[in-house]
């Protein structure tokens, strides 16, 4: 029996808004035409979002493929390929009504079979992401061509926060069914339902998408083309933007250039984010001294967070107060700021019985970080200086990505690590992976600190099963407070991923995070 419950949304009004191309308030004089040129620092590895884990794929493929839902600026799900949805009170069944008259770019009609194939066949077998998110998905039913029903074995409270991820784009069954989808030519020449069609991809140089004139939302999109220009070097990207060679530098603006660009007429700098990353110090709780709470508290108190924000991010960031960044809708804003207090930190270490030796040193920790990440390296340097004040010597072990991650996650060969995990958009998933007992797998991107708190485990499990976002937020708040008591991660600062674009484009970045950036409604002011 279907109940139109609390979160049961049939969003007629939103559908109306979506169906009308020029919503008067937003873009009174939207003009057709124009080319948006966006920078990418590297080629996408593939244009199949379900096979990829990197933004270069998401930023490009999400213009060609479409997800069931997308998000407004406040991270509320809004219709895309699904125009309506409802969820059963037990949170185990989701029913979606699909948009009609939708065609793939090759002319084949889109229907519920494509959704079933994507979530029921392709995803579970080939996607890195499905197993994390949809482990309890039992079946995807298709009562008719325009309806799909997801059935879970356990309540799923967070599905709608994730269905808008580009990784969950709906794939054309008729093109992927036969053969090994991982080597399917469509991975490099995508055929989607979206506002832009694939035109060409000159690897290392550019990737061109052109307007889909048969797009099912009449009048959209406005732009003739979206071209991605591959420019590996951030300084070169910014120079190209200033010169007008490109229209947008996506998420790679250097913090020390942000102020200059902000003051440049015709350029706007923004940084919306719900992925809620913080840069933190991850202690190995199996290591001799770090298993002591007082030591972790001392390390937290001795860190000069404001200096990191000022000197590393040039003010383009903020100090961290908890494991989830303040940009997340689930951030607990009641968490206190942690001010540097060397005396209190020293006192804690004294109480822990860690006396200073004749050289003034209490103990030494080995700090690991990925060498190529400049922000991590500078954070490590500041910590080294900070901890010298409390008699803790830091030996920095910097190496490239794979070596460092192997040491941290697989071999547990570290005392502390400067690391950053995405805690959004729905913290429950990342918390399961990085800070619950379920994450004690010694795999990459798992619970590297070795943290175990049964109450936290229980709360994390509850969070992902709770449908009501208000109740879920309350659970997340409790988890954040408990983590700040146990300190399995010492939050330091929140970086921002800065995007700059030329202001002769409108509706350029209306999404809550660059992960979801979409140019369906972007238009170019020619005069």
């Amino acid at each position: 029996m279907w109940v139109q419950g609390l979160l049961t949304l049939v969003i007629a009004s939103l559908v109306a808004v979506v169906a009308v191309p020029t919503s008067a308030a937003q873009s009174p004089v939207a003009q057709r035409g124009g080319t948006l040129v966006v920078t990418l620092d590297a080629d996408p590895p593939t244009l199949n979002p379900a096979l990829s884990v990197v933004n270069q794929t998401f930023w490009t493929a999400d213009q060609v493929y479409e997800t069931l839902v997308s998000y407004d600026a406040a991270f509320k799900p809004i219709p895309r390929l699904a125009t309506s949805w409802s969820v059963s009170p037990d949170g185990k069944t989701y029913r979606f009504g699909l948009a009609r008259n939708v065609k793939w770019h090759d002319g084949v009609p889109f229907n519920s079979g494509d959704v079933q194939y994507t979530f029921g066949v392709f995803g579970p077998k080939y996607s890195p992401y499905y197993k994390t998110v949809l482990a309890a998905l039992e079946a995807v039913d298709t009562p008719d061509a325009n309806t799909v029903v997801f059935r879970f074995s356990k309540p799923n409270g967070i599905l709608l926060s994730l269905l808008g991820e580009p990784a969950f784009a709906i794939l054309p069954k008729h093109l992927f069914e036969a053969g090994d989808p991982r080597t399917n030519p469509a991975n490099n020449r995508p055929v989607g339902t979206g506002p832009f069609k694939f035109k060409e991809w000159v690897r290392g140089d550019h990737l061109t998408l052109v307007r889909n004139d048969q797009y099912y939302q009449a009048g959209l999109p406005y732009l003739d083309q979206v071209i991605y220009r591959i420019i590996p070097n951030a300084a070169s990207q910014e120079a190209a933007l200033e010169q007008g060679e490109v229209s947008m530098v996506l998420a790679t603006v250097l913090p020390n250039d942000a102020r200059r660009l902000r003051n440049t007429p015709g350029i706007k700098v923004v940084s919306p984010s719900v992925l809620a990353r913080i840069i933190g110090l991850w202690p190995n709780l199996r290591a001799e001294h770090l298993k002591q709470l007082r030591v972790r508290q001392a390390l937290s108190l001795a860190a000069d967070r404001q200096r990191m924000v000022d000197e590393i991010a040039f003010g383009e960031g903020t100090v961290a107060r908890g494991p989830i960044a303040s940009t997340s809708p689930y951030f607990d804003s009641s968490l206190p700021f942690i001010h540097r207090n060397v005396a209190a930190a020293n006192k804690l270490l004294d109480e822990a019985g860690l006396k200073r030796g004749s050289d003034g040193i209490r103990f030494t920790v080995r700090l690991r970080h990925v060498a190529s990440l400049d922000t991590f390296a500078k954070t490590a340097q500041i910590l080294k200086e900070n901890y010298a004040d409390i008699g803790v010597r830091v030996d920095i072990l910097a190496a490239e990505v794979t070596t460092t991650l192997t040491a941290i996650f697989i071999n547990s060969d570290f005392d502390v690590a400067v690391y950053s995990a995405p805690m959004g958009p729905e913290p429950g998933l990342a918390l399961t992976q990085y800070l619950s007992s379920q994450g004690l797998t010694k795999a990459f991107f798992s619970n590297a600190p070795g943290y175990q708190n049964l109450r936290v485990d229980q709360l994390i499990a509850e969070s992902v099963a709770t449908i009501d976002p208000t109740k879920r937020a309350a659970i997340y708040r409790e988890i954040q407070r408990m983590i700040m008591v146990d300190l399995p991660v010492i939050p330091l600062w929140e970086p921002r991923f800065l995007t700059a674009y030329r202001t002769d484009f409108e509706n350029v970045f209306t999404q809550p995070d660059d992960r979801y950036i979409n140019f369906t409604r972007t238009w170019h002011r020619s005069r």
Partner: protein, 319 residues
């Protein structure tokens, strides 16, 4: 002579095999696991195990090596999951861009370097030529990526004479306009590479010229009443070029390394950037493929150097 070439070519076979085995072992024994970059931050342990299996990384190293070498003999360099393409296609697609940049830079820096070397050797007391020589030495000692950035700042950002990045303009041209556009994009990366190589070739030519100019046959040529120009370019330079040719040939490998930086700064879609990306991702098949092909190129360049020797110096005989 054909016997000599046959022997040289035969020598190249075990050399190539050695390169394959050595690079394979080196890359695979370096710490770090490609799964770390392929699987993504939100993957499960189960997915990572599956991925390692699919990539064949859970097999013993010697099994992986034997399979790799066997595949190479079938002309298959493997498949790159990082780039979603067969390795050979990936490398071949990037090769023309690098060859174009390398060829242009090599030709210009060789001609200019040799000319500068000759002039500084024959005008030992001229302050201007010495200044030019010092300037070249300074350019040589500056890091290539920094020179690139400065050139971008001056010529592309400040004066807007030249494009900042890429190989062609967006939108595309055809015919002559396409080649002119390509030429404009070539200027700055070429200049960066030339600034590095110029001093090397100039100093080498200079030293070699000074040595040759002091030899008796040059004195004899002068005594015969030949014009200085004739003496320098026809008699002296020909022998002075031998070590320069050797260095150009030997330098090919080093040049390819320099391309990693220059192509990254200028967004040039060539092999240098591919190497950079592949090493970062621990893409074993791509790295091995690149090493194999570049070492073959170096071997080929050395063969070519030997051939040029014979042309420049008729005394060289192939036994």
């Amino acid at each position: 002579m054909s016997r000599y070439w046959g022997r040289r070519l035969l020598q190249a076979v075990p050399l190539s095999l050695g390169v394959v085995v050595l690079t394979f072992v080196l890359i695979h024994t370096a710490p770090g696991d490609p799964v770390a970059t392929l699987a993504g931050e939100q993957s499960t342990a189960q997915y990572q195990t599956q991925l390692r299996h699919d990539l064949g990384l859970d097999r013993p190293l010697y099994v992986q090596l034997v399979r790799y070498v066997a595949a190479i003999f079938r002309g298959n360099l493997g498949y790159s999951f990082t780039f979603g393409q067969p390795v050979l296609a990936l490398i071949l697609a990037r090769t023309p861009a690098t060859l174009l940049l390398m060829g242009t830079a090599l030709v210009i820096s060789t001609i200019l370097g040799v000319a500068l070397g000759v002039e500084t050797a024959t005008h030992v007391r001229s302050p201007w030529w010495n200044l030019a020589s010092v300037a070249a030495a300074i350019a040589y000692s500056l890091p290539a990526f920094w020179v690139g950035e400065i050139l971008i700042l001056i010529f592309a950002v400040q004066f807007r004479w030249l494009p900042i990045v890429g190989m062609t303009s967006l939108g595309g041209y055809s015919g002559l306009a396409h080649w002119l556009d390509l030429g404009r994009h070539l200027v700055l990366p070429t200049l960066t590479l030339v600034s590095f190589n110029l001093a090397l070739f100039a100093r080498l030519t200079r030293a070699s010229m000074l040595e040759v100019l002091a030899q008796e046959y040059v004195v004899v040529a002068r005594a015969k009443g030949l014009t200085p120009r004739n003496v320098i370019y026809k008699h002296a330079l020909r022998s002075a070029l031998l070590p320069v040719i050797t260095i150009v040939g030997l330098n090919l490998g080093t040049m390819l390394a320099g391309f990693v930086l220059v192509e990254t700064v200028f967004g040039w879609p060539g092999l240098g950037r591919l190497t950079f990306d592949a090493v970062g991702a621990r893409d074993y098949p791509v790295i091995s493929g690149l090493f194999l092909l570049t070492s073959e190129a170096v071997i080929a360049a050395n063969l070519l150097t030997d051939l040029l020797y014979g042309i420049v110096d008729p005394r060289v005989r192939y036994e």
